[in-house]
Structures are given as structure tokens and as C-alpha cells.
Amino acid sequence: MTTAATEIATYNFAYLDEQTKRMIRRAILKGIAIPGYQVPFASREMPMPYGWGTGGVQVTAAIIGPDDVLKVIDQGADDTTNAVSIRAFFQKVADVAVTTETAKATIIQTRHRIPEHPLTAGQTLVYQVPIPEPLRFLEPRETETRKMHALEEYGLMHVKLYEDIARHGRIATTYAYPVKVEGRYVMDPSPTPKFDNPKMHMSPALQLFGAGREKRIYAVPPFTRVVSLDFEDHPFEIQTFDQPCALCGAEQVYLDEVILDDKGGHMFVCSDTDHCEKRQACGHRGHLAPEALEPAQ
């Protein structure tokens, strides 16, 4: 990696050349002007494979400046391989400050979660998106889905939800739950859990979505209406958990199941590791928190 680091030092700030960044910024601006609309862009090869968030990385590279403070999460964690390598990439190519603290970050790149700590004006949340097209599931033809967006023909989204209810008795979609943005475009927040959908609604932060392989960028500007699709008699609901976080005791947060041993032992803990650690530092305790467990494992 050291040779790569020295080689990379000869690259432009934030890896992409200025012309490419301008092209991406134009796509972002267009996306902001038309909330929820998928703007095609000339996605570049990045020094990481597709599926590693190349769309999000390009968006971040196009907007990051030397004074920015970057946070990168995968699921809710700052310390997974994917998050660590993207963070390291930007430290090398842009020499920016990084943080794990939501409140201190100016740019947060995420693969799934929206942090539990409320975002504020001036912050930008960059999503890495694998499949930007919400209609793809039932309509594989790109020409047709484009037309559907253009003509606001979104009946098909409800066909998908109808199928869910017919099969499971309720809307069973938990990730990539479709939303309507500012009363116009239907958008896939993929692969965010639907638990986070309400956080997108009227968020003071700017939300940018980058899909590298599919070459699409879309955006939700601050204070934009984001409404989850549903039926009158099957209204949208977020997941609920019947117990608080085992480490910090938080309620009304998104929990991950953690396997403790090979005898079926498990616990539910905050998926947002920063949030959990902050709470523990403030003295909050869950039922499995005591000394027995190493902190921040």
C-alpha cells in the first residue's frame, strides 16, 4: 500500500481530475434541482471494485474540500473493512480530517444507515447505491422505466407492495423501501432499512445518492418531503424492537443482532456504533453492558 500511497500523491486532490469532478457536480446540481430524479453520469473507474461504493466515492470525491471532515459507515459501523478502506482512501488522496462522530462530520458516506444522531444543516449524507431504479423489480426494460418516471406512472410500485401483502399478510419489504420525493419522483433509498426512511423526510442535511455501476446520481435537497409508499389499510410502519440496546440501553434505534457464542447466545445492539459508544460514555448502560464485555468490540 505504501507504493500506492506515493503514486496516488501524484493524483489530483480527491483522486478525480477537475474535469470529471465538474461533470459529477453538474449531475449533482441537476439532481438537487429535480429531487428524486435519477441523473445519468459518466461513472469512472475507481481504484476499488463495484459493490464497494464507487458511486458514493465519486460523489464524495466531487464535493469534498480540504476543510471537510469525513465520516464513513457501513451498516452503522465506522470500523468495517469497507468503511475503513474508503476512509483511508480519502485520507490519502484528499488529506482530509476524518471522524467517527456524526455531529462533527461535514460529509458522511454511508452504505446503509442514516446515523441515529439527527443531522443538521450544512451536513451532507452520501449514499452508496447498488440499484437506483425502484421499478426495476417488475419492469426490466430501461426505456419503459424511464417513460414511467417521466409520465409519473407509478402503479407498478404498488403492485410490488400488493404482492408483499398477498404473500406475507403485511408489507414485508424492510430494505430499499420505495419513497415518493416532494410529491413527484419515486425513489429507491436502497439499501437503507425502512427504519431510516422517516429520517429522510424534511432532513436539514443534503442527501446525495451515487450508483457507480448503474451510472446514476440522485438527490434529496434539505427540507424535502420524502414519503414512504403504502396502502390506506396497510400504512407504512418502521421496524420496532422489543428490547433496548444490550450495551447502551437505547430505545427507538435500529438494532443489529450480534452472535455471542456458538451455543445460540446473541444480543441486540445499536447498529450505529458511534451512537452506542457515545451513550455508553455518557453512562448509559444496557443489560449486557457491564464490565463482563469489552467495550467497543
Binding site: 417513460k147 402503479g155 401483502i165 390506506e232
Partner: protein
């Protein structure tokens, strides 16, 4: 019935390069009327039907449709959004191959409910009970509502396609060989069902078929096509019992010989 037609077609022609698809076709279709378009393979039946259903743009000529508010609209000058809306509300299109008109990977209920959802129905319970009702009307057991059409027989698929089209109460349905790919006994049952529905609902329909028996059973009026032209048209019984054009005479007699 009103004293105005539903559809008015004037000098419609469609060329594929220099080849004639159909040429100089004119007719009026009245509310509740079933028109059969018959003729041998390659005579231009599908070309004409697709032009009328705005799935193809004609080379020249006009077709006007009287909307539900009684306003006449030139079909080829409507915006795409309006046309697509018309196609999924006031019109139906029944394909010969049900797979072309169904979503094969979603349940029968969702296939029937799709148009309702497309026009803004947001009550699952209502959509489902309407689907149950329509499955009944096309003689599909309610228990099959959550099955995918992939698991259906050809006849069932075709009946499902019909239900999916009729759920919004269209006034005009286009059908291209609706009984084409089916066994004779299945055909007979489907024809019976279609005839009942068309009468009960007061549907106008344009039915393309090369089968004169289908024309006899379903239509009040028919047009005989050859090489892209209409060679004879009139009341179905009259055309079949007393064909005037030599080509129609040949067609009718060759059928009778079978």
C-alpha cells in the same frame, strides 16, 4: 346508445418502407359494437389493429376517438401521457399470447389489480375484492388469486388477461386473435365467455381473427382484408351468408369445405 360513433377512422395507411401494411382504411365504430377484422395471413389485420390502438403510428390518415366527456380527440395528436392513460383506463388490449399482456411473475390478483393501482386506488382490501370479483367473472377460482399466471393453463391465462383489461370498465377493447393459441374446446368456452362479457358490459370491440366462426359468434359487423385493403365490409351475417366480393366468396366457401 348515442347517435355518435365512438371511433372514426379515415383513410388510414401504414407502410413498412415500400411494403403495404394496410392502405386507405375508413370506418366508424359505434358504442357497444363488435367489429371483426378477418383475412388471410399477411393481409394487414394486426397492422391495422396496432395503428388503431396507437401501438403503431400510421403513415397517413386519421383516427378520432370520442372520450368519456364526449370530446373528440385525434389519437395521433394526443400526448403520450394522455394516450397511455387512455390505454389503461378506457381501452383494453387482448394479445393472442397471454404472456404479452400479463405480468407473468406477479400473482393473478395483482395482474387484475394493476390498472386500479395505476389510476390511484390505494386501498388493498378494495383492490383485492375487486380482483376476486373479476376472477369470478372470468371463471377463475378465487383460490387461485395468489398464484402466478405461470402456473395457469393457456385458457386460464387468456381469461386472466381479459379480466385484467376489463377491471377499469373500458368502453373499447382491441383483440388480436384472442382464441388463437388455444385448443378447440377451450376456444369454444372462451368465446362464450367473451360474448357474455361484451354483451353484459356493452363493450365496443375490434377483434382480429382469421377464423370466420369467431367472427360469426362475436361480431355484428365485419371487414374482410386482403393485401392491406378492405375488400368487403358489412353486417357479419350478411357477409358470411351472402358474400359479394369474389375473394370473400372464396374465403367463405373454403371454410365451409373444411
Amino acid at each position: 346508445m348515442t347517435d355518435e360513433p365512438l371511433l372514426r377512422v379515415t383513410a388510414l395507411s401504414k407502410y413498412y418502407g415500400s411494403r403495404i401494411g394496410c392502405e386507405d382504411i375508413s370506418f366508424d365504430l359505434w358504442p357497444g359494437e363488435v367489429l371483426a377484422v378477418v383475412g388471410e395471413s399477411g393481409s394487414g389485420k394486426t397492422t391495422l389493429l396496432n395503428c388503431l390502438a396507437t401501438r403503431l403510428l400510421p403513415t397517413s390518415g386519421t383516427a378520432s376517438y370520442r372520450m368519456r366527456d364526449n370530446q373528440w380527440r385525434d389519437l395521433y395528436r394526443m400526448s403520450e401521457a394522455e394516450r397511455r392513460f387512455l390505454m389503461r383506463t378506457d381501452w383494453g388490449f387482448v394479445h393472442q399470447n397471454p404472456a404479452d399482456g400479463l405480468r407473468m411473475t406477479v400473482s393473478a390478483g395483482a395482474n387484475v389489480g394493476e390498472r386500479l393501482m395505476a389510476i390511484g386506488d390505494r386501498h388493498y382490501g378494495n383492490i383485492r375484492s375487486t380482483a376476486v370479483d373479476w376472477l369470478g367473472r372470468v371463471e377463475i377460482d378465487e383460490e387461485r388469486i395468489d398464484d402466478e399466471p405461470r402456473a395457469f393453463s393457456g385458457g386460464m391465462r387468456q381469461r386472466l388477461q381479459i379480466a385484467r383489461n376489463l377491471v377499469t370498465g373500458p368502453r373499447l377493447v382491441f383483440m388480436d386473435e384472442p382464441t388463437g393459441g388455444l385448443d378447440v374446446s377451450v376456444q369454444a368456452r372462451l368465446l362464450d365467455l367473451l360474448r357474455g362479457l361484451v354483451t353484459d358490459l356493452g363493450l365496443a370491440a375490434i377483434v382480429v381473427t382469421h377464423d370466420l366462426a369467431v367472427a360469426r359468434l362475436l361480431s355484428q359487423r365485419m371487414m374482410v382484408m386482403k393485401d392491406g385493403h378492405v375488400v368487403e365490409s358489412g353486417l357479419t351475417d350478411r357477409v358470411l351468408d351472402d358474400p359479394r366480393a369474389p375473394y370473400t366468396q372464396l374465403l367463405v366457401s373454403s371454410i365451409l369445405q373444411v
